[in-house]
């Protein structure tokens, strides 16, 4: 419960900032809206069991190339770190959000986001994380983190973000 209290505050802030969710229990949605607000928990980033540490020190997201859902070597390194963290902090579950850049139709991007989220999830499972701790959701191109219309932005938007959702049974 103590743990829950610790992460609830930043996430609630994030949810408010996103203006997209008034229901504090739905952390998954809140996380999606504010996926860019990485600095929210900076104060506790030094604590290796904190979500902030997970976000910043380990890295909560992996990037993909155009139309792809295969994991690069770099992505695998990050996901390995995520897996290790999740194995150490068994009270947490996670929702993996799949995203796409705006260069594609809405429907195709939803499907592509689902692929990317699933690629990350499969990797974590292969490294020993229990499948019932990991949900996926696709946002397609609905929640870009960068808003310019250039490859520099697109590259950051083609991502899978692992959002910690707290110590529930899922």
């Amino acid at each position: 419960m103590n743990l829950l209290g610790k992460i609830a505050a930043p996430i609630a802030l994030v949810a408010l900032a996103a203006c997209s969710n008034t229901d504090p229990s739905a952390w998954g949605s809140g996380g999606a809206g504010g996926a860019g607000a990485g600095g929210a928990g900076a104060g506790v980033a030094s604590d290796p069991t904190s979500p902030a540490y997970f976000q910043q020190a380990i890295g909560d997201r992996v990037l993909f190339s155009v139309d792809q859902s295969t994991l690069t070597a770099e992505a695998q390194t990050i996901l390995q770190g995520q897996a290790d963290w999740l194995l150490r902090n068994v009270d947490f579950t996670a929702t993996i959000e799949g995203h796409a850049d705006e260069q594609g139709t809405r429907e195709y991007n939803l499907a592509l986001g689902a692929r990317r989220a699933n690629a990350a999830r499969e990797f974590l499972i292969s490294r020993g994380v229990a499948g019932n701790r990991l949900k996926t959701v696709t946002y397609g191109k609905e929640r870009p983190i960068e808003i310019c219309s250039e490859e520099a932005c697109y590259a950051k938007n083609r991502r899978a973000v692992t959002v910690l959702t707290g110590a529930t049974t899922g």
């Binding site: 139709t105 692929r115 699933n118 219309s149």
Partner: protein, 438 residues
Amino acid sequence: MMKFLTSLFLGTALLVAPAQAQNQPLRIEITEGVIEPLPFAAPNFVPDTPAAAEYSAQLARVVAADLSGTGLFREIGSDAYISQVSSFEAPVQFADWKAINAQALVTGAVNVSGNQLTVRFRIWDVFSGAELGNGLQFAGTTDGWRRMAHKVADQVYSRITGETGYFDSRVAFVSESGPKNQRRKRLAIMDYDGANVQYLTDSSAIVLAPRFSPTGDRVLYTSYESGTPRIYVLDVGRVQRRVLQSQEGTMSFAPRFSPDGQTVLYSLAQGGNTDLWSMNIGSGQSARLTNAPSIETAPSYSPDGSQIVFESDRSGTPQLYIMPARGGEARRISFGKGRYGTPVWSPRGDYIAFTKQNKGRFHIGVMRTDGSEERLLTASFLDEGPTWAPNGRVIMFTRETQGASGRSALYSVDISGRNLRPVRTPDGGSDPAWSPLQ
């Protein structure tokens, strides 16, 4: 055609030549014409009663705007009029309308009694002095006056062009506000011309891609209100919604009604793979239509319900395919350069509209159902999601502008590629879905 003409000519010549060599008609063939908007006049409707006066101009204005908006007609403004129509029953002064080159004329009268509104009108071919069809009367309530005007315009349109009109229709869409990374989306519905906007959801959850039922009384859409994309069906009249049955751990989106309104086609993502499914909307029983590791999405029925056109990247890039409505072997119909998506079968059955992405630009295009005669109608940074007017002659779609301040808006275009124009919405708009004629 030449054969027909030759035989006609010979036949007639043989029959007539000996009898009346001198006065046989001169025969010519016209094969070249012009394509331009037909000039018409729609003078204010004659008010039968003082209470009707306020509708006199409004009705005529909406009729004229409907017709002009098609790009097929051009209104001649009242400042050019030589004579006014002050009586609905008096003979039309055709010479006065010819003089200002009005080729079609709409005359009308309006009567108001209580909240009852009655509209009478006639349509005239000015240069031949003939009435097109019979006079017609519509009756309804005063607050539905815009619908009456749309109905009048539908009649004018169909009597002159020979096609069914589309003005008495509505559009469901997603109203958008806020910056790209925090966009607020609400489901909304409006008259096809942007009037009478009504919001059906709040913006607490992302909503996507509404689709009308064949009778226009229900709308399917995708919402994140549960945290994950699920399909909802909303009763437009009661503004009540329910989620379609869905399995835990799956995501569903891209729904579309079957022509009989009994079945919903949709995409279901499970374990990272997206396939096509159908569900009986009454029983909730679902069936899997495709089973491939590739992405299958954006399905649309043929008007007879026998086939489905959809988007798949099984070849490596997104392309269009057609398969039987119950699933089975699919044949690819798009072979041009680039990526194809969001195919929609025309209500007439003759064309498939689609989104195409090529060389960094997006296009709305149409092709025959066998993939031939592909024609791109638009080009911009991002055009997508075509929807057909109920008569299959006009397409509405989403256009999003480039960059950090990018905004989305609704546009419409004639299937000839002419008459591209924005559709006015209070905020940004995306994912339009055109209703059937009401």
